[in-house]
């Protein structure tokens, strides 16, 4: 079976939805944060797949062409995600030191 663009997109979409479900349903901040990273990686996979299978409509002789923009974008996403994780984990560690927990149901200082 030939692996086409749609296969990659489907895998990325599944990852994205699993990550989203993780963010919504899990109660542990670290797991939530991992799920967030999974959503970002799903977007990266989409980018790479699109840029690998990019085709110029006007050149049927070269149906697929590595479109470099998407691959460059992935590096930006990875870098930004790393910065975000650095800050995020620092906040979660600070929370653990203060409250000895990383469960979201214990975040109840601010409420309606």
């Amino acid at each position: 079976m030939e692996i086409t663009l749609n296969h990659y997109l489907a895998v990325a979409a599944v990852f994205f939805v699993i990550g989203l479900m993780g963010v919504i349903m899990r109660r542990n901040l670290l797991i939530i944060y991992m799920s967030l990273e999974m959503m970002l990686q799903a977007a990266n996979l989409t980018f790479v797949a699109f840029s690998r299978f990019y085709s110029y409509p006007e050149s049927p002789s070269r149906p697929y062409f590595n479109h470099i923009d998407g691959q460059v974008f992935v590096f930006f996403v990875i870098t930004v995600a790393a910065a975000e994780v650095a800050v995020g984990l620092a906040l979660i560690v600070a929370l653990y030191r203060l409250k000895e927990t990383t469960q979201v149901q214990n975040l109840t200082t601010l409420k309606f």
């Binding site: 980018f47 974008f73 906040l91 600070a94 929370l95 601010l110």
Partner: protein
């Protein structure tokens, strides 16, 4: 006016501020600077950046292989963000109680946020948009949770972190789909591609991008973070979030929905979506503010309501005029844009007045609930008057500046036949009056529990007077105020009308 032949020169303000911020961070590590010295050095850097920005013309120029665009909107919003950051840093140093005694990061980080916001205003490519937006968001995560030993601040920071990360994930997934189906990330190239026809995948990507931006501007249903984060963050940062982050969100919202998806096909999809969202924001923001007792939460919900008002102006920027078959003349778009900008300026004035008062009170009162304000007019007439005027302006009562903003939104909606939206705008404005009057009643018609007068230091007094004069002045001289905004947008645009503001069809 500098009309640079090397367009990279338009980067100068951003580069200046970046060098200044990094230099300050480095200097602060080696030289023992007092917090006051750090703050005033940062203010000097911002002032220079602002003056340098003023020196440039308004293009429009696209440079760096289409990564950046310098136009009237970019210049206007760059100045807006510099002014916001100056007020924020001044507040952090002078008005509120010291947030931290170690390190000057609390002063330097707002500079990085400002750099991100300035780049957002100049973005002409999703790549720059993403990186600039993340620069803004990540420095806000730190700023919100800066008092990390205070449970409320830390909790606010974590809530902002998780929901901000979620919104980035949506944004980047949307950008991936838009890139994949158009083959480019440049705004003008995508707009050209999508002129008449929008593939389903691109529409899907657009909705994901709207979700990502929606978090930043706190529109319903992506507003959940706003009240909690507003309550937990230090006062100056709450004001920054409420003004800077919202204005940044709106400038990219305008670039994306009016520029990238401004063609007939795109408009057909996002106008109904944003209309529903605007109505929800108007209703929820204004009704949920009514039972609030904490002033910062109240302003948080009111900020969601204001998002609704500004969204109406954004929608008004493109809607078909009645009887017009081929859509969207550029003048209509500019009317909507001017309404958005005027609204944001008046919002800046009123919000900062309110938060400066709250920051002063935070040091003297046991809490920031409405009942703590009782009899404030007897304890400090200036603070009471400033807070009352800012709330009345936010409510949109003539002749204050908030009225001009609301009037412009209503006119845009009326001229473009958005009667349903108009109904909700007026309903929300009336509901807003009710909860804005609560604190005023407490300040002027309740007996104080504690008679001791509250002293305000000289610089705070001066800034409050200036803000009050601006709040009243922009309301009374609304004509010259709105034409000032208009002119700063369009100074050079007459000759480039079609290209200006990236609104080519």
């Amino acid at each position: 006016m500098i009309n640079a032949s090397y367009h990279i020169a338009y980067f100068a303000p951003v580069i200046l501020l970046t060098v200044w911020a990094l230099g300050l961070l480095l200097a602060e590590a080696f030289i023992p600077l007092t917090p006051r010295q750090t703050a005033w050095t940062a203010l000097a850097g911002l002032l220079l950046t602002g003056l340098l920005t003023l020196a440039f013309d308004t293009g429009p120029w696209i440079f760096w292989s289409g990564l950046c665009k310098w136009d009237g909107a970019a210049k206007f919003f760059n100045l807006f963000f510099v002014a916001t950051a100056m007020l924020v840093i001044w507040m952090g140093d002078e008005v509120q109680e010291p947030v931290s005694h170690d390190g000057g990061e609390f002063v330097v980080l707002p500079l990085f946020t400002t750099i991100g916001l300035m780049l957002l205003a100049m973005a002409n490519d999703f790549m720059l948009l993403f990186v600039a937006l993340e620069l803004v968001t990540i420095s806000f995560y730190i700023l919100v949770a800066y008092q990390r030993r205070n449970p409320a601040a830390l909790e606010a920071g974590i809530k902002y972190l998780i929901l901000g990360g979620l919104s980035s994930a949506f944004l980047i997934m949307g950008i991936a789909y838009i890139f994949g189906l158009t083959g480019t990330t440049r705004f003008d190239a995508i707009a050209l591609e999508l002129q008449f026809y929008l593939r389903t995948g691109v529409a899907f990507g657009m909705l994901l991008v709207l979700i990502g931006i929606g978090f930043k501007i706190a529109m319903v249903p992506f507003h959940i973070w706003a009240p909690d984060v507003y309550e937990g963050a230090p006062n100056s940062i709450t004001a920054f979030l409420s003004v800077g982050s919202k204005a940044g969100g709106f400038i990219i919202l305008m670039r994306v929905v009016l520029g990238v998806f401004g063609g007939p096909a795109g408009v057909g999809i996002w106008v109904p979506v944003l209309s529903v969202v605007a109505i929800l924001s108007l209703i929820l923001g204004n009704l949920a503010a009514i039972p609030q007792r904490n002033l910062k939460r109240l302003l948080g919900y009111s900020s969601i309501g204001h998002t609704g008002f500004i969204l109406v102006a954004v929608i008004g920027a493109v809607t078909l005029l009645p009887g017009q078959s081929s859509p969207l003349y550029i003048t209509d778009r500019i009317t909507g844009q001017i309404a958005v900008s005027v609204y944001l300026v008046t919002y800046l004035l009123a919000t900062f007045t309110a938060f400066i008062v709250l920051a002063v009170l935070n040091r003297r009162l046991p809490g920031l609930e409405i009942h703590h304000l009782a009899g404030l007019s007897q304890r400090s007439p200036l603070l009471a008057a400033a807070f009352a005027l800012s709330l009345i302006s936010l409510a949109g009562v003539p002749p204050l500046s908030g009225f001009v903003a609301k009037l412009m939104v209503i006119l845009v909606a009326w001229n473009h036949g958005l009667y349903t939206l108009l109904f909700f705008v007026i309903f929300a404005a009336v509901a807003a009056l009710y909860y804005y009057l609560g604190p005023i009643k407490a300040m002027y018609w309740s007996e104080p529990l504690d008679e001791t007068p509250i002293r305000v230091n000289l610089s705070t007094t001066i800034v409050l007077y200036v803000l009050i004069v601006l709040l009243i002045g922009t309301g009374f001289w609304a004509q010259s105020f709105s034409s000032f905004v208009n002119n700063s947008y369009l100074a050079h645009a007459a000759t480039h009308a079609a290209g200006s503001l990236a609104f080519k069809q």
